[in-house]
């Protein structure tokens, strides 16, 4: 009798453990999905701006999130998961770029920009608007890779220290790079 009670208790304890493990797993999955919803467009835009196709970018974002699952499962540090995700995506993107051995020209976007002016009803404004954007995009493209990445990461909402972490540079370099780039873009838009 007592042994059957014990074995029942053991079974019950095991099923409670199982339930707890399941709860932990689904809480983790929910957390990952909510981060995915929030950060996927930003990560994807960043990988595209590095010169990847949307197919490659999407794959890299998936890999970054699967790496995040593993990171969380192993109980690794959870402070600044956003910076961590961008860093992983950045590294994977650079690797993929060197594998592809080619860089898609980001300012294939110049044509893109011209397509986008269609929303503007006034043809004269059209022309000015699209010329201005084309000039801005050309100036953007002319920036060194590192400066472009700083800007793009900042545009995706990263703080300076996160950008420094992603690119492996100092905080001072981030702020100097952003200042330099915005000054250049500012001169272009003045014209």
């Amino acid at each position: 009798m007592s042994s059957s009670i014990e074995s029942y208790q053991r079974l019950a304890a095991r099923s409670v453990e199982g339930e707890q493990a399941r709860d932990v797993a689904s809480a983790l999955e929910a957390e990952v999905i909510s981060l995915f919803d929030e950060l996927r467009p930003r990560l994807l835009r960043y990988t595209l701006s590095c010169g990847l196709t949307s197919g490659d970018g999407e794959e890299i974002v998936q890999e970054a999130f699967i790496a995040l699952v593993r990171h969380l499962q192993l109980g690794k540090p959870r402070n600044n998961l956003r910076g961590w995700l961008f860093r992983v995506a950045h590294n994977l993107a650079l690797k993929r770029l060197s594998e592809n051995g080619r860089r898609r020209e980001v300012a294939a976007g110049i044509d893109e920009a011209e397509r986008h002016v269609d929303q503007n009803p006034n043809p004269e404004e059209h022309a000015t608007f699209s010329q201005q954007r084309a000039r801005l995009l050309a100036a953007l493209q002319a920036l060194p890779d590192q400066d472009q990445r700083c800007l793009r990461l900042r545009a995706e909402g990263l703080r300076y220290r996160e950008i420094a972490l992603v690119l492996g540079i100092s905080l001072g370099s981030v702020s100097a790079s952003l200042t330099r780039s915005l000054a250049r873009l500012g001169r272009v838009s003045e014209r």
Partner: protein, 273 residues
């Protein structure tokens, strides 16, 4: 605090609008802006440029973003798949389950390259480095390359980085364990001085194969714990995209002590022996 009469630099102004200045620095700039039209105009020009850049950034890229529903569902499915796989079970079981999954193509593509790379890598690098190490360490701190060249299986990056494989060679079947000890001429009496270890760890694609197992002596600082630390580090580097899986496998299988020294920038193991 004294008012500031000199204009902030462009960098200070940007850091200010970005909220990146320390709480001690901000108020002075804020007060200066309140009194200086010139700097207010600089700030608004800066904000304009930021606005124009953002518009271009989104205008070009947003239209290229595929809808989120598909990728979101894929991520959910992959997490569900991961949840089904035991976290630290036998890697064979885990591998069997994962290979049923959609990553098969990846894995197959990697297969040929990895086997060739690891094979070629160890042949080139072991002959000299290994001889030196064996001369320095009479025990098999570095396995005999002829007996234990290392063996890997096809594995995709996502598998490496999402499935936890057990690297504990305690689970190796007794018959295989005995074979490994025999080929290294370790008698039953001496067996207690050794721990069976994978040369290329299962988490990095190594297999439970006699070519990938050797008795690692417990008595030196270059022991199982040191090697585990290296394996974990390489695994992290691979999953953070900083190191190729094939390179990690090659470094482990050719000369793991040199790899340890290279990756941890130290001559002696840092883990307690």
């Amino acid at each position: 605090m004294a008012d500031r009469y000199t204009h902030p630099t462009d960098e200070e102004l940007l850091s200010f609008v970005d909220g990146e200045l320390s709480p001690g620095e901000s108020p002075a700039i804020e007060r200066h802006l309140a009194t200086c039209w010139e700097c207010r105009a600089r700030r608004s020009k800066l904000e304009n440029t930021i606005g124009e850049f953002l518009e271009a950034h989104h205008g070009v890229l947003d239209s290229q973003l595929p809808p989120a529903a598909g990728p979101r569902a894929l991520l959910k499915a992959r997490m569900a798949e991961l949840r089904k796989t035991p976290r630290a079970g036998s890697w064979r079981l885990v591998a069997a389950q994962v290979f049923d999954s959609r990553q098969r193509i990846y894995a197959l593509a990697a297969l040929v390259i990895l086997i060739v790379a690891v094979g070629a890598g160890y042949r080139v690098s072991t002959s000299t480095a290994l001889d030196q190490h064996l001369a320095a360490a009479p025990q098999q701190v570095i396995p005999n390359a002829r007996l234990t060249p290392g063996a890997v299986r096809p594995i995709s990056m996502s598998e490496v980085c999402s499935v936890s494989f057990s690297d504990d060679a305690d689970q190796v079947p007794t018959s295989l364990r005995r074979q490994v000890l025999q080929e290294y001429k370790v008698s039953a009496r001496q067996a207690g001085n050794y721990e069976l270890d994978y040369l290329v760890s299962p988490q990095l694609g190594g297999t439970e194969d006699i070519r990938n197992l050797w008795p690692e002596p417990k008595s030196t600082a270059w022991n199982l714990r040191a090697k585990d630390a290296l394996e974990d580090h390489l695994h992290d580097l691979v999953c953070e995209g900083k190191l190729d899986l094939a390179t990690a496998q090659r470094d482990l299988s050719s000369d793991w002590i040199t790899a340890y020294q290279k990756y941890f920038h130290t001559l002696a193991p840092v883990t307690p022996s």
